[in-house]
């Protein structure tokens, strides 16, 4: 059924397999979710999706109360789809997890004129746009071929693929292939590709305990996983195995991720003025691609509220909200 605005006790959370979101699966498997749900007297069902897009669609259609997604997809899918969405937790941002990789080329400018394989309209597309921007090229200088993310590794080994934009774990697999050169990665646009746990705003307003539980789960799990202890190593190994690789492979992915395991750092991140700049880039990009809705007259069509209360775009149609409420509680130890 549709997530309705009312007090309730059963919540559904969707997550999909990606380095920065593995803690959610680990927390569900190891009783951490249960523990925090019990603490607030609610029930949380955590579902793993193989297919990221499907998890967002389910959230947009009201099947789930919260979902893991990136800032860009949060704006283009649930928010542009009319679902008022609040970012409860800023989990990490990509610092090298997404990359532009070329075959037989050493500089980003070599990309000109090539077909580029990427998941169209995804953060990879955004990364490409920013990368092209940085060397004075534009999307008109390349052609885009939509390619499914699970097949990126295989695709790169075919002769007609010479440029690719993708994320980890595929990116590191591909970069390790002979002849592949990483020419641009998200570390060069730090803080622009942000991995979030978002929830339906109405649900959240009516059930603040849900937000608290999410925050509790996240910070307990991340604290465990970054710990330099045998338990920490075991947790990382388990998350690696769950994503189809092993402990070492997973740690390599984490190295390219700026994980906010301390709530205070996350609070500082969302309150920095850079977030407004980032979201402005993002909405410009989405509008350009027609992803804010076929009838959107400008990039202002969907309003984005920042923790300061500042609104980007249409204040009457705020659908994506950044807040530090729950992360602040965690930082304050108020959970």
């Amino acid at each position: 059924g549709h997530a309705r605005a009312e007090e309730k006790t059963d919540f559904k959370v969707a997550w999909s397999i990606y380095a920065g979101w593995m803690p959610w699966g680990y927390a569900a498997d190891n009783g951490i979710v249960q523990k925090w749900a019990d603490k607030y007297g609610i029930a949380i069902e955590v579902t793993q999706f193989n297919d990221y897009v499907e998890s967002m669609n389910q959230f947009t259609a009201g099947g789930y109360d919260a979902v893991t997604l990136t800032n860009m997809d949060g704006l283009s899918i649930p928010a542009a789809g009319g679902v008022d969405t609040t970012a409860v937790i800023v989990g990490d941002f990509s610092a090298g997890n997404d990359a532009v990789i070329l075959k037989d080329g050493t500089a980003l400018t070599d990309i000109a004129g090539r077909p580029v394989n990427l998941v169209e309209f995804s953060v990879s597309h955004y990364l490409l746009a920013r990368a092209l921007d940085s060397v004075g090229l534009s999307e008109r200088d390349v052609s885009i071929v939509n390619t499914a993310d699970p097949d990126m590794v295989g695709a790169f080994q075919t002769p007609d693929v010479t440029a690719m934009v993708t994320w980890n774990p595929m990116a590191s697999e591909i970069a390790a292939l002979p002849g592949a050169t990483k020419v641009f990665d998200s570390a060069q646009i730090p803080g622009e590709i942000i991995d979030l746990m978002v929830a339906n705003t109405e649900v959240l307003q009516d059930n603040p305990d849900f937000g608290k539980a999410l925050a509790g789960i996240w910070y307990e799990t991340t604290a465990l996983m970054v710990a330099d202890t045998p338990e920490g190593a075991a947790a990382r190994a388990a998350m690696g195995a769950a994503s189809g690789t092993d402990g070492a492979g997973y740690e390599a992915q984490l190295a390219a991720t700026r994980l906010f395991d301390k709530p205070a750092e996350a609070v500082a991140f969302v309150n920095s003025p850079d977030l407004a700049t980032t979201m402005d880039h993002v909405r410009g990009f989405l509008f350009d691609k027609g992803l804010l809705g076929p009838t959107a007259p400008s990039a202002d069509a969907v309003g984005i509220e920042l923790p300061s209360g500042q609104v980007l775009g249409d204040g009457a149609n705020v659908k994506l909200r950044f807040t530090d409420d729950w992360m602040q509680m965690a930082a304050d130890g108020a959970l």
Binding site: T60, A61, D151, G154, A155, T158
Partner: protein, 272 residues
């Protein structure tokens, strides 16, 4: 009177035919109204007006970004792949099926192998396909071929084998060589069946096409559906699904017409 013996009248027949379609449309409209009532921005079941807007956008005006009429360019790209894939599969099925059905040596050696191939799930082999053939048209066409050719081959070999032995012997007494038997006795008799077999494979072929286009493409019906799935644009997906269904139905009818036109005797046989 038993229900088995009751027949609807002419007029009632038309009505009965439309009934389930009408019910489907009604169910959609009601579901759509309910969902839109709860959330006016809901995208899952767009209202007729939204659907119409979607159709206009994709079929009746050029895409502002690329200047292409999306539905038509996608259809052209997909049909090209489909035609190539089915064409190649048909030729393979014809040649291999006839050979396996006719020649005991080939039957002994390839019969079981073709049956085995027809059981391999082609989708699971996609990575290999893409790597060996690249991401271009070849891989997509090849997926369709791999998906439908073994089944068509098997079916055709069976049909060839079912031709009464008497007919083959008769041809031998008319001085036919193996080649001439294949050319003038077996081929024309199995061609109508090949077309029927082709019709049955239209559904699977579309399936493989969509699956291949979902993985890598820059145009095509499956590409568009999976692309717009990213933002749950059901106002595009529904028209595309309806359009694909319509195309499949039309192709089905066209192939059957062709069979009946080119091989008039195959209709006579059926009645006999």
């Amino acid at each position: 009177m038993r229900w088995i013996n009751r027949r609807p009248r002419r007029g009632a027949e038309m009505l009965l035919l439309c009934l389930p379609f009408a019910a489907l449309v009604a169910a959609y409209l009601i579901g759509s109204a309910i969902r839109l009532d709860a959330n006016p921005a809901d995208k899952l079941l767009p209202s007729p007006a939204q659907l119409w807007a979607g159709i206009q956008r994709i079929a009746l005006m050029p895409d502002p970004r690329t200047g292409e009429w999306l539905l038509w360019s996608d259809t052209a790209a997909s049909l090209m792949r489909l035609a190539a894939g089915l064409g190649i599969a048909t030729v393979i099925a014809l040649l291999l099926g006839m050979a396996v059905g006719l020649l005991p040596y080939l039957r002994a050696s390839l019969g079981a192998f073709v049956a085995f191939l027809s059981m391999v799930p082609p989708l699971a082999l996609l990575p290999i396909l893409f790597i060996t053939l690249g991401l271009g048209e070849a891989a997509k066409i090849c997926l369709i071929v791999i998906g439908v050719a073994p089944i068509m081959t098997r079916d055709l070999a069976l049909r060839v084998h079912e031709i009464p032995r008497e007919m083959i012997v008769k041809a031998e007494t008319l001085s036919a060589s193996t080649w001439l038997i294949a050319l003038r006795v077996v081929l024309p008799q199995v061609l109508p069946r090949l077309l029927t077999s082709l019709r049955l494979q239209l559904g699977p072929a579309f399936l493989f096409l969509i699956a291949a286009e979902a993985i890598s493409a820059d145009a095509g019906l499956g590409y568009r559906i999976f692309l717009v799935r990213r933002y749950l644009a059901m106002d595009v997906i529904f028209p595309y699904v309806a359009w694909i269904t319509l195309l499949a139905v039309l192709a089905d009818i066209a192939i059957d017409r062709l069979r009946s036109r080119v091989f008039p005797w195959s209709d006579l046989e059926r009645g006999a």
